[in-house]
Assembly symmetry: C2
Homo-oligomer: 356 residues x 2
């Protein structure tokens, strides 16, 4: 049977700690070349409403440690509005008020489709877990104070992950919408059992912080060099969040993946802000994304992480990897099977008797 | 609702002629840049049995003329045995005696998943339709005699397609297995209403043929320069089938796509015959795949096809495109909706209320 899981199943079955542990196992495999993944691709054509584009995004990877291959697909109507002076990328809930993102898991022993589930919760888990794993290797052991920029979906994943790897005592949250940051603080104080405090400026969030978590939807800079302090760990989930001069202040810079530019496939006459960057994906200011150490090498121990308390460290989650969906999805699948969770669909629906 | 279709639905709903017509519409769009697709990727890790590999293949594309984006995924255990002196690529029926290939169709207006179906029948239709569309532009108008090399799954698609674009009178079929070619001849004589004759040598199949269809699983050459005759159209579904010297004899050479090498992602210690070729994908002997005319330009009329009866023409279906699954899949979906075909699955299974 092929398991159909819901976001609620994912939320109930796989903890952030388990996701971080799964990534740690899988990234050691990746460092030794046993796991593989294929670069993300983003294809665009004109969208259904003025200023919108239709985007078909896909990535895939194989994690032998978990016995699975995964394909993740996002099918979205996207817009790029400006809010509070920052250009943002926003998906429309065009699918009857809903969004479309799917993960399909396949067995590497038989090829069979093992599971199908929406990508939303796992997406947050794997982004959080990635930055959490990096923070575990790069942030000071005694990090207690967190400055958070952003209060959306990914911001929650980031604080969950950091609280899984450090004894966090206080989180100061800034985002451009007062309403959003206050709601975020209320929700996550309760969920984490840690004081989350909404603050009125980014400076108030990051001043004196041991760890700065950028978790926004912006495609502009949100953290600046003048805010860097000795011993800080800087963490980002989107390439442009931290200005290049701030990154250059770091003693240790680690990125997620070197081969970092998505394959952009854009129809004629369609203008896509992030595709415009072109070769810019390889460079951010003077920072060359083709030579920096990668997270899996730090996890495997072949590249050192933080070595002194006064160092500034920086992790740039510069692109998502299909491999993460294989690793985290494989861990999820094991837990789902053990728990008897999900809806069983006949595997015959998704297999065939011909050899194409 | 999201439609779950079977191979039988595909077979019943979409004729080869309709598939060729859909590709013709979509390829005109492709020539003008309105449609897009992303290069195929093949990822490999060690397989479950000695000499096998697990392969996760994916491709995707968006065909605005049909309002859909498509992702095609194949999850296979693959081996490379040698049969009758030729190295072949063979998939094992490891999924409980079945194979795993899926197409997912998405609406470009809403992002919604419109349909899910196995790829086998559409795969054959789209490969056949591609070579059929090429033959329609390149073979002589009065072509009647066909030499077929191969008797497998794709060979059927090739003769179906050619019979849709030319008044074929006789098909001579050679394949290394006598049993297979005889069974093929019996089956397809009846299905096509055209005499299909099994012959004991490749020469007997191709001598005097107006059109030579190569439709094998080989990764070696099967058609040679010494067999080329004036006025012939040569057609191939796999890059190495026609030896380079034979291709060079053609007055008009058209390929499917210039950006032709799949993205090969191969785990450490894993040897993949076709990935070994590396840059070889760009060259076959002296033939440079980066500069030859592409099928969509011939379909759009921006590049001429055959202009004289005595010309030798050659179409190399050098790689499959995700775009074909969007075009043919979009045409299939329209017919399925009109016929009320397929099993309706709740679209909510494949959508979500969060914004990842």
């Amino acid at each position: 049977m092929t398991l159909l899981l819901s976001n609620e199943d994912v939320d109930r079955l796989l903890s952030m700690r388990e996701c971080i542990d799964a990534l740690a196992i899988a990234y050691r495999d990746l460092a030794s070349g046993r796991g593989t993944d294929r670069r993300r691709s983003d294809s665009f054509v004109a969208g259904p409403v003025e200023g919108s584009l239709y985007s078909l995004k896909s990535m895939d990877g194989i994690a032998p440690a978990f016995g699975v291959g995964a394909v993740r697909i996002d099918s979205d109507v996207v817009t790029w509005p400006t809010r509070a002076g920052n250009a943002r990328r926003e998906k429309l809930a065009a699918a009857g008020g809903r969004f479309v993102g799917l993960v399909l898991l396949f067995s590497i022993a038989t090829g069979e489709p093992l599971a199908i589930f929406p990508d939303g919760y796992l997406q947050r888990l794997r982004v959080g877990a990635t930055n959490g794993l990096a923070a575990d290797r790069l942030a000071r052991r005694d990090a207690r104070i967190v400055g958070l920029l952003g209060s959306g979906w990914q911001a929650g994943g980031q604080v969950m992950a950091l609280c899984s790897v450090r004894r966090v005592e206080r989180i100061r949250c800034y985002s451009t919408s007062r309403e959003h940051r206050e709601a975020f603080a209320a929700e996550w104080s309760e969920r984490l059992g840690v004081a989350v405090e909404p603050v009125a400026s980014p400076e108030a969030a990051v001043r004196g912080a041991d760890v700065v978590l950028c978790a926004t939807n912006t495609i502009d800079h949100v953290f600046f060099e003048r805010w860097v302090e000795p011993g800080m760990h800087l963490s980002s989930i989107k390439r442009p969040e931290i200005e290049p001069a701030a990154i250059e202040r770091a003693d240790v810079i680690v990125i997620h993946a070197r081969d970092a530019s998505p394959i952009h496939v854009v129809a004629a006459g369609v203008d896509v802000p992030e595709a415009r960057e072109g070769k810019g994906w390889k460079l951010l200011g003077e920072i060359d994304f083709t030579t920096l150490p990668q997270l899996h090498d730090v996890v495997a121990g072949t590249v050192p992480g933080r070595t002194r308390d006064d160092q500034v460290t920086c992790f740039l989650n510069n692109i998502g990897r299909g491999y993460q969906f294989a690793a985290a999805g494989g861990a999820l699948y094991r837990k789902a099977k053990a728990a008897g969770a999900g809806r069983e669909l006949p595997t015959e629906w998704f297999t065939q008797d011909v050899h194409p």
